[in-house]
């Protein structure tokens, strides 16, 4: 395998890691306002992601940086073309981070409610937008024969198909977040989250199955691996639903990792060998090979990745282990 294709796979894994880890952060961020009855319960729900969400977000930073470094033309083309959606992404990321940090800095109910709404809105918008963006990329961007993208606002990527892609990721995040809360908290949140995890998982299966099917039919370019990955994704989600119904939330959590890897595989297999397909003219597609950086920088990054990434996985896993205790309702002092 050529080095740039290795980085294509690495980027897919980084995005899957981001969707898996931030997925439950997003889900918890939304459920913290919909599933709770008062400030204390909200604090209980949000405490489940308190120590880890910031490190989870680093997966996005690295996933974006990896595209920048390994495929500069892909990064430049995609980010400039999706200007308005990405501006909204940035705003939501800032609002969410600030809201999580600030909500506990004062103990007034009014103050906390305001930031909790910010967390919920941003947490709902982000998975929706990322789902829309990846589906929108598969549809292609208007690259003309000279290889230029121009006069775009980014709203061009919005279509029934890309919205379905957004809803699939949003529903996945909600179900994943509910399962995470069922796994990580004590009652009263635990019971309610467990009850909702099943319903949300069923919803996630429906939207995700529709999305991967549509992707396979319209964008697979005859590559049957898209269907294989899609079937794997949906199968893992169905098994996760069975596990959820039997209150085995740990197993469901693990199966969701397989599911999201399947989702990202669907996108990346359908995308390859292109980085940005042209919606105007197939001969104007920006291919991965054309967008890739040279061998030397890719080699340097590969060496760093091979050494550093296992260590990162170890200590990030360890931090989850340190915070494995279920979270109780905060006691009023």
């Amino acid at each position: 395998m050529e080095l740039h294709m290795l980085w294509f796979v690495v980027i897919a894994v980084l995005w899957a890691g981001f969707f898996f880890l931030e997925g439950f952060d997003f889900g918890v961020g939304i459920l913290a306002i919909t599933l709770t009855r008062d400030e204390d319960e909200r604090s209980q729900a949000l405490a489940a992601i308190g120590p880890v969400w910031d490190a989870d977000e680093v997966w996005l930073i690295v996933a974006a940086a990896a595209i920048f470094a390994a495929f500069p033309a892909w990064y430049a083309g995609l980010f400039a073309a999706a200007y308005l959606p990405l501006l909204l992404v940035v705003v939501c990321l800032v609002v969410r981070a600030v809201s999580i940090e600030y909500r506990l800095k004062r103990s007034s109910g009014h103050w906390q409610r305001r930031w909790d709404v910010g967390i919920a809105l941003a947490s709902a918008t982000l998975p929706l937008l990322f789902g829309v963006l990846w589906a929108g990329l598969l549809q292609g961007l208007p690259i003309d024969a000279s290889g230029r993208l121009s006069d775009l606002t980014g709203l061009e990527i919005i279509s029934p198909y890309s919205i379905l892609g957004g809803l699939a990721v949003l529903a996945f995040s909600l179900a994943h977040g509910a399962g995470f809360l069922a796994l990580k908290t004590l009652d009263p949140i635990r019971g309610r989250a467990a009850a909702w995890a099943g319903r949300l998982q069923a919803l996630a299966i429906l939207t995700m199955a529709a999305f991967v099917l549509w992707t396979g039919l319209q964008f697979s370019r005859g590559d049957d691996w898209v269907f294989v990955a899609g079937a794997g994704c949906v199968a893992a989600m169905v098994l996760a639903l069975v596990a959820t119904a039997r209150q085995r939330h740990g197993i469901a959590f693990g199966l969701n990792a397989v599911a999201i890897l399947g989702y990202v595989a669907v996108i990346f297999i359908a995308l390859a060998p292109n980085a940005i397909p042209s919606s105007l003219d197939a001969s104007a597609d920006l291919t991965l090979a054309a967008a890739a950086a040279a061998q030397y920088p890719l080699t340097v990054m590969t060496i760093v990745l091979v050494i550093a990434f296992p260590v990162v996985l170890l200590y990030q896993g360890w931090s989850f282990w340190v915070f494995r205790k279920r979270i109780a309702l905060p006691t009023r002092s």
């Binding site: 004062r106 121009s150 990745l305 915070f323």
Partner: protein, 463 residues
């Protein structure tokens, strides 16, 4: 479409968002180690005062760090969104340190800060302390990778241009291991330490003035003085070292910072007040101290420095017609502002160290007020330092290789104006909240430790 308006708006947006980002960065770089010193002293002495200080300033560190992370993420996204010409040209060089920053620094910072803040009751004491130091190492590594990338924009090295004209890394060591990078890195770290020391110093002054929390705040005050003055003295040397490197590698940047239009000849004077005219390409007013500039910029009294007019002529020969002179007015005054504010802040700390020697607490109200009021100085100084660095490389975004006007994304003016407005509104409102929150933490002072803390060992019990 008006291209120059697009470039100006994009530059304004990037400048404002970067400067905003850099309000948080130096405080994180400097406050991390200071909180780690407090925590280490708490670990070794088991005195509650150090623990209280670690928690109080740890609270400020946490708020500040979160803002630094997200405003940094905005910058990463902007490289692609607003500067796609830049992203495509530099990705093969610039991307590698960015990926390394993520893998080697960001994961370390965010994971171990989470462990330190939330893991107090779940980790053994030594391990809990180690988490904080790992966070500090992460922030310092992060600064290193960013300065490797930024220094490459100032002075490209270790790369080749590929067939499509884009830069590709060809020698990591040549790019990353060189005096320019080392000097810029240490310069930024020392600026961070000075900034954080002045923040701790100013907050301690608020409490000492009212004779509150004396046991904790005297300790904070002394720590801040030791860190701040040491870093300030070292900064004098490192700043000079960096100045000599810049003189060598980016002569136009220094010539503009000194408002030297013509070659100086030996024994160049250091200008203390100048009114440069960009249109006439000369100074309307210029007051100089003889020979000092030669000494500062070349470390010798008879060093000569090139002026902007000859450098402009050289650049036209090398790169074709165009304006290769940065805005001299900004460059000249930003550089003086940076040095002046740095000297003022550190100088006041030296005075304060003398006035509070051997535990004295001056009566006068003004002494304490001024000690608090100097808090903004190092922040403004840091921002001016970046203005000198980045304004001084104009019209280039990558020195000698890519002009700013060729780096910008081909966007409509309306889009860029929209995002600029969004950033302005969002950043201004969060700056207000952030300032109020930090002020509250500062005014409240150290919180008493909970009773479930392990009690300090009672020496009486041993008798």
């Amino acid at each position: 479409m008006d291209d120059s308006l697009l470039v100006d708006l994009s530059r304004l947006q990037f400048a404002l968002t970067t400067l905003y980002h850099f309000l948080f960065v130096p405080l994180t770089l400097g406050l991390g180690p200071i909180v780690a010193i407090f925590a280490t002293l708490a670990y070794r002495t088991r005195r509650p005062e150090w623990e209280q200080l670690a928690r109080m300033f740890g609270g400020i560190l946490l708020i500040n760090f979160a803002m630094g992370v997200v405003t940094g993420l905005v910058q990463e996204f902007q490289f692609g969104m607003n500067w796609s010409g830049f992203a495509e040209f530099v990705g093969g060089v610039f991307g590698a340190p960015l990926v390394m920053e993520g893998l080697l620094a960001f994961f370390l910072e965010s994971t171990f800060l989470g462990l330190w803040v939330f893991g107090r009751d779940r980790l053994p004491r030594a391990l809990h302390l180690a988490c904080l130091w790992l966070f500090v190492i992460g922030t310092w590594l992060s600064a290193l990778f960013i300065l490797v990338a930024n220094t490459w924009m100032q002075d490209p090295a270790g790369f080749q241009l590929d067939a499509s004209g884009n830069a590709q890394l060809s020698d990591l060591v040549a790019m990353a291991v060189r005096p320019f990078v080392l000097a810029a890195w240490i310069h930024a770290l020392l600026a961070g330490l000075i900034t954080a020391a002045i923040v701790v110093f100013g907050i301690a002054a608020m409490h000492l003035a009212r004779r509150r929390h004396l046991e904790t705040m005297r300790r904070a005050w002394r720590t801040a003085l030791v860190v701040g003055i040491t870093a300030g003295v070292l900064q004098g040397g490192v700043g000079d070292w960096l100045g000599v490197i810049v003189t060598d590698r980016q002569p136009m940047k220094l010539a503009a910072a000194e408002a030297n239009w013509e070659d100086t000849g030996p024994c160049a004077g250091f200008s203390v007040f100048a009114i440069p005219s960009m249109s006439e390409r000369r100074n309307l007013v210029d007051i100089e101290i003889p020979c000092v500039l030669s000494l500062l910029a070349t470390n010798s009294l008879d060093g000569s420095l090139p002026g902007m007019n000859p450098l402009q002529a050289q650049a036209e020969q090398a790169y074709g017609p165009g304006d290769y002179t940065p805005n001299v007015w900004i460059q000249y005054w930003a550089w003086r502002g940076m040095m002046g504010l740095g000297l003022l802040g550190v100088g006041w700390m030296v005075i304060a160290a003398w006035r509070t020697r051997r535990g004295r607490l001056p009566e006068g109200r003004w002494f304490w007020r001024v000690s608090t009021w100097i808090i903004p100085l190092p922040f403004i100084g840091s921002l001016l330092g970046w203005i000198v660095t980045e304004n001084g490389r104009q019209p280039w975004v990558v020195y000698g290789l890519l002009k700013t006007e060729d780096a910008v994304s081909n966007l409509s003016i309306g889009l860029v104006a929209t995002s600029l407005l969004v950033y302005l509104v969002m950043y201004t409102s969060f700056a207000v909240v952030e300032f109020r929150l930090i002020r509250r933490v500062a005014l409240t002072g150290p919180a008493p430790l909970e009773s479930d803390e392990p009690e300090p060992k009672q020496p009486m019990a041993l008798v």
